[in-house]
């Protein structure tokens, strides 16, 4: 039996699979796919054997640098990155949690300078397992449950 694809195949480009359904639009935003001119196909609340439901994004003619795509691990820690050339899978890897996070997360401390002045946020990753971020400016910790994606 031929498996039916809910989201059409792409000839060349990148597939980001195993995104938690709730994080799909965050991933689109973090990767700036909302402003790209490349063809983007996506689906969410799709059935997944492993996770119940999942989201998937396919970006035509785009290949991401690791540091670019690793940022999504904050909201999609199990996402898989699949590179496609001529409809064939050429590489497949799981995203890595980066050591530094710039811009995309809001500092939890309301009295932090990044919430008062026009300063991009910057964090170092204290713990990759439970995602604890230390603010480069106010030195306070933003953990997963208080994390807001800008």
């Amino acid at each position: 039996m031929i498996k039916e694809l809910k989201v059409s195949a792409i000839e060349n480009g990148t597939v980001i699979d195993h995104i938690p359904s709730a994080s799909l639009f965050h991933v689109i935003k973090i990767l700036n796919l909302d402003t790209t001119s490349n063809m983007v196909l996506f689906g969410t609340n799709l059935e997944s054997k492993k996770y119940g439901t999942k989201g998937i994004i396919k970006v035509s003619n785009k290949f991401f640098k690791p540091q670019e795509v690793n940022k999504i691990s904050l909201v999609a820690p199990n996402a898989t990155l699949i590179e496609i050339k001529k409809f064939q899978v050429v590489s497949k890897k799981v995203v890595q949690v980066p050591d530094e996070i710039v811009k995309i997360v809001k500092c939890f401390n309301p009295n932090c300078v990044t919430n008062h002045e026009d300063v991009p946020t910057r964090f170092t990753m204290l713990s990759k397992e439970d995602v604890r971020l230390k603010c480069h400016y106010c030195e306070k910790i933003t953990d997963k449950k208080n994390m807001v994606i800008k």
Binding site: N109, N111, C112, V113, T114, H116, E117, D118, V119, C135, H136, Y137, C138, E139, K140, I141
Partner: protein
């Protein structure tokens, strides 16, 4: 350390911190040295301060330098909505070094990234106040002859007191034992205790000063603020149990010294002032020497 900013106490290594303390001792012997005559130091105090601002300005004056700045941001362009970045970049055009205090946490780090001249953080909200830490270290070394292997008690508001947090972290480099005395609501945050644990040092927690006062070398007092308590009754109940009285010092160690970052309200009785173990006013004076050492090192006038 030339041209480097000091934002967090950890920006300087243990060796560099000790070097500043040694240099401060030279300035203590000879506080008036006209080596800063060609320099302009800006003191930008976006929120009020007495000791910190005046001791920085005294340090610069005794070295013959010039001071520009403000002690109240309400009379500046900040009031017109100028960004911190623009204020700093402008003042950096006029000065060789900027000393700043700001109520927003992380503002000094940000300033150090946009400024063409070095920044000394004189307090950024509840975050860091590294020159206070250095002067506390200087005072401990001055009174005990060393920083290593001491028993140090911290008393009062250990939760919100940034001077306590920075000093505890700095002293974890010196194998000290920490005695933490506070009401339950104002215990030292676990993030700070982590630093003690990482160095495998010991700490003990108490709710009354009497339990530990006779055993320690340094008694570091802090003020408990009424507004820290959601229940005013709680504050009334505990406020008197964290007051140091002269008779409590009778059986304390000979070398004990009492420190306090000041201002004091009522947590140290005035009759303690006459006791030779009271050392908080000398501690405030030491701020001048430590700041002289820092300013001249950062400007490359002392090595």
């Amino acid at each position: 350390m030339k041209n480097r900013s000091l934002v967090s106490i950890n920006d300087f290594s243990k060796k560099e911190q000790l070097h500043i303390l040694e240099l401060a001792a030279e300035f203590e012997k000879k506080p008036t040295q006209k080596i800063l005559e060609d320099f302009v130091v800006a003191t930008l105090f976006f929120e009020p301060s007495t000791r910190t601002r005046l001791s920085f300005e005294t340090a610069v004056n005794r070295l013959g330098g010039k001071i520009i700045g403000f002690s109240d941001a309400s009379s500046t362009s900040v009031k017109k909505g100028e960004s911190l970045k623009d204020t700093i970049k402008t003042v950096a055009n006029y000065s060789d070094l900027i000393v700043m205090r700001h109520p927003v946490e992380g503002s000094a780090r940000f300033a150090s990234e946009v400024s063409q001249v070095p920044i000394i953080n004189a307090g950024d909200g509840a975050n860091q106040h590294p020159t206070q830490t250095l002067l506390d270290m200087y005072t401990i070394k001055q009174t005990q002859g060393k920083l290593d292997n001491l028993h140090i008690a911290f008393v009062g508001d250990l939760k919100y007191g940034r001077t306590v947090h920075s000093l505890v972290i700095a002293l974890t480099n010196f194998n000290c034992t920490f005695h933490l005395v506070s009401p339950f609501e104002l215990k030292l945050p676990s993030a700070v205790k982590m630093h003690i644990k990482e160095k495998k040092l010991e700490y003990y927690q108490y709710t009354s000063m009497e339990e530990v006062i006779d055993k320690v070398d340094i008694l570091y007092m802090t003020r408990i603020q009424r507004e820290r308590f959601s229940d005013p009754m709680e504050y009334e109940k505990i406020k008197n149990s964290y007051v140091l009285r002269n008779e409590m010092l009778n059986n304390t160690k000979k070398n004990l010294k009492i420190l306090h970052p000041l201002p004091r309200v009522n947590e140290i009785d005035e009759d303690v002032d006459e006791n030779s173990k009271a050392y908080y006013f000398q501690q405030a004076l030491n701020g001048v020497f430590v700041r002289q050492a820092l300013i001249t090192t950062i400007l490359g006038l002392k090595k």
